[in-house]
């Protein structure tokens, strides 16, 4: 019983687990990125040979070997002066172009869209990593037709007509192959990390869900089993607090129940005394006080039965439910009630025959008391025996259908001063049904109320052995 007795096993606190999950996810992401950088082919800037640029400027159609298409346009104005970051390089390349075109220097212009990329990309170049020309390089080597431009550029030549032919590389498509590859990698990474992260997160919060369920169960039934002291440390602490609370709650209920039981119990002796003393009284007095005594005894019995049901489980056996119903119906009929029983035959349930008798007696008594008559029907549905007890009374409001199962609750206190009920009949019925793994519900029928009892059928094949 003592929750501290068996050593609780806690895993790391949720906070730590979340941090671990975060770090783990981040690490995996970083590793993937690193792999992309190290293993995947790096992005290459477009490479344009000077000869290609010169040919396009001349109006030929050339497909660059290592770059995007080149576009030639004609315009009247010269392109704006280059905002060149590294004038040395640009000037050297321009001179190469001048040499190739064979025109005067001032008719050729060249500018780069970005900082000159020679330095950054030359080590990766497959063609031997040509070093960029040094800044003081004055002109093109005489036979060098292999000068190259890396990256986007704008070259212009003034034609004999005075117009300027401007050649630019076609704008870079989005995504370029490298970008597309990185994006695919990212998506793959997301596709792998997402579900994995979800699974981990779910494992992380599973104890919280279980804890909430257990707490909910405790709310309904204070004698529910204690929470398991497992899971993350925070849950463990909360579970321990809950278990302590449950223990106190149980103790409180037990104290109160045993007090009610003790009072009810102790009332029996004085009641017996009154009974015997009454025998000497005049008959008229005997009758009136006798019925009061009956009522008191019925209340005491109801309380004690309720306490008994709440704290005991009777002898279990395979019981013929039909025989139980026959007893209840026959007893009610002998008492003058209008009760009928319809059935297809015997059904076996695993239970305490006397408790089941009390269950159905309470329901049939209620039906007769409030609904004039009771129609009892026994049938089987799937794995359950279903007993429906229909009456023809005024029924109950929808909101009352559940409340009437609460102990000591009476739907309409003024209605039944003579019945001796104290609002325990349905509570007892429900706790008996639940103790048998079934339940009792009230439903509004065609006329009046129908109590529906569902009890699991016993497996005769295994039990009879």
């Amino acid at each position: 019983m003592d929750p501290a007795a068996d050593a609780p096993r806690f895993s790391a606190p949720i906070a730590v687990q979340i941090v671990a999950l975060l770090i783990g996810g981040l690490a995996v992401g970083q590793i993937v990125t690193l792999l992309i950088v190290l293993l995947a082919p790096p992005p290459r800037p477009p490479i344009y040979r000077m000869s290609e640029v010169a040919a396009v400027l001349d109006g030929q159609t050339v497909k660059p070997r290592d770059g995007r298409a080149l576009v030639r346009t004609l315009q009247a104005e010269p392109p704006p002066a280059p905002r060149d970051h590294q004038p040395g390089f640009a000037e050297a390349d321009r001179m190469t172009l001048v040499g190739l075109l064979g025109v005067s220097q001032d008719r050729v212009r060249l500018s780069f869209e970005r900082p000159h990329p020679h330095i950054w990309w030359s080590p990766f170049l497959g063609d031997g990593g040509r070093r960029p020309p040094p800044p003081h390089w004055a002109g093109p080597p005489p036979h060098d037709s292999g000068g190259v431009i890396f990256g986007d550029f704008k070259a212009a030549e003034q034609l004999p007509t005075g117009d300027w032919a401007v050649v630019t590389s076609a704008p870079e498509p989005f995504p370029n192959p490298w970008q597309a590859r990185v994006m695919v990698w990212c998506l793959v990474c997301l596709a792998v990390l997402g579900p994995a992260g979800y699974l981990f997160a779910r494992r992380l919060v599973a104890p919280i869900g279980a804890f909430a369920q257990a707490a909910d169960r405790l709310g309904r039934d204070p004698s529910a089993p204690l929470l398991a002291l497992t899971g993350p440390a925070e849950i463990g602490v909360a579970a321990r607090a809950f278990n302590d609370m449950q223990a106190r709650l149980k103790l409180y209920i037990e104290d109160r129940t045993s007090m009610i039981a003790a009072i009810s119990h102790d009332l029996r002796t004085p009641l017996t005394r009154i009974r015997f003393k009454m025998e000497a009284a005049p008959p008229a007095l005997q009758r009136t006080i006798g019925s009061d005594l009956d009522q008191m005894e019925a209340m005491i019995s109801a309380v004690l039965a309720f306490v008994h049901e709440a704290s005991h489980t009777g002898d279990r056996a395979i019981v013929d439910l039909l025989s139980v119903l026959e007893c209840v119906v026959d007893d009610a009929r002998d008492a003058g009630a209008d009760v009928e029983l319809t059935t297809n035959g015997a059904l076996a349930v695993d239970g305490d025959a006397l408790a089941l008798q009390r269950l159905f007696t309470n329901l049939v008594d209620n039906a007769v008391k409030y609904g004039r008559r009771a129609r009892v029907e026994l049938k089987s549905q799937c794995d359950a025996a279903v007993v429906e007890i229909a009456d023809e009374g005024p029924g109950l409001a929808a909101a009352e259908l559940e409340r009437v199962f609460e102990p000591f609750y009476r739907a309409e206190p003024s209605r039944n001063p003579e019945t001796g009920g104290i609002g325990l009949g349905l509570s007892v019925a429900r706790s008996i049904a639940r103790a048998h793994g079934g339940d009792v519900l009230l439903r509004r029928g065609l006329a009046g109320l129908t109590a529906v009892v569902r009890l699991p059928l016993a497996d005769l094949r295994t039990s009879a052995a």
């Binding site: 017996t272 005394r273 000497a280 005594l293 013929d320 007893c327 007893d331 025959a353 039990s463």
Partner: protein, 250 residues
């Protein structure tokens, strides 16, 4: 008290001698009241407050029946019941505020002849005293009070637990009236019992059994036993009554 005039009412019964009843109850007021009531109905009463006083009373004279409380200071009722279960000991009716089935079963297993939960109706006590005494007389030469199970036609009936089980081990619940009739029949297999005799024998279970037609009880019992015809566990003897036809073993 008015004991004298009411006692004269009871004396109209042709009593040979007043039957002696010993009440053992630590509640002196209740004891006095029971004594007053029973003596009005022709019994001769003594009251003892505990086990020791009871022993002195038993030594001083013989009693036919003891009304025994369970919860008493000193020796409790169950322990008294256990040591008084000799064959020639007085009959015992336990009257206790502990009315659960398990208390009743324990009391009966320990040798009590009947178990009456408090609060009880005085008339019920009276009926039970008479029934126990009558049963004692009827059974004096027939059988020792035994709690063994009866077996018949594939059924098993345990009278103390009042549990009837069929061939497949399924428990069949009986009403008190059905139970009493079955027990009366099982005790006298093969013997024809008239409705009057059955009514007499089953009165011990103070219920409305008196008012209820024996025939109704028999037909319900037959229905529960699945006694449809060819098997005929309980046979109707026309004009005479009923006879338990199946073989009974204990």
């Amino acid at each position: 008290m008015v004991r004298t005039d009411t006692a004269s009412v009871a004396v109209e019964k042709p009593l040979v001698k007043a039957r002696r009843v010993l009440i053992v109850d630590d509640d002196a007021d209740l004891g006095r009241n029971i004594a007053a009531y029973l003596s009005r109905h022709g019994f001769s009463i003594e009251v003892a407050a505990d086990g020791r006083t009871m022993d002195r009373a038993l030594a001083a004279g013989s009693f036919e029946i003891i009304i025994l409380d369970v919860m008493m200071p000193g020796e409790d009722g169950l322990s008294i019941c256990r040591r008084l279960s000799a064959a020639d000991a007085p009959a015992i009716i336990i009257m206790s505020a502990k009315g659960e089935d398990i208390d009743r079963i324990v009391g009966l297993e320990l040798g009590a002849d009947d178990y009456l939960p408090k609060p009880c109706n005085p008339r019920e006590l009276l009926a039970r005293i008479r029934a126990v005494l009558r049963r004692r007389e009827l059974n004096r030469n027939q059988r020792p009070a035994s709690s063994g199970a009866y077996r018949f036609a594939g059924y098993e009936f345990e009278p103390v637990l009042s549990r009837l089980r069929n061939r497949s081990g399924m428990t069949i619940l009986l009403t008190r009236g059905e139970r009493a009739i079955l027990l009366a029949l099982l005790d006298r297999p093969g013997q024809v019992l008239s409705r009057e005799e059955l009514s007499e024998l089953t009165q011990s279970d103070y219920t409305d059994a008196l008012d209820r037609a024996i025939d109704v009880q028999i037909s319900r019992l037959r229905r529960k036993l699945g006694d449809s015809g060819e098997q005929e566990i309980i046979r109707t003897v026309r004009g005479l009554g009923y006879r338990f036809a199946a073989l009974v073993t204990r």
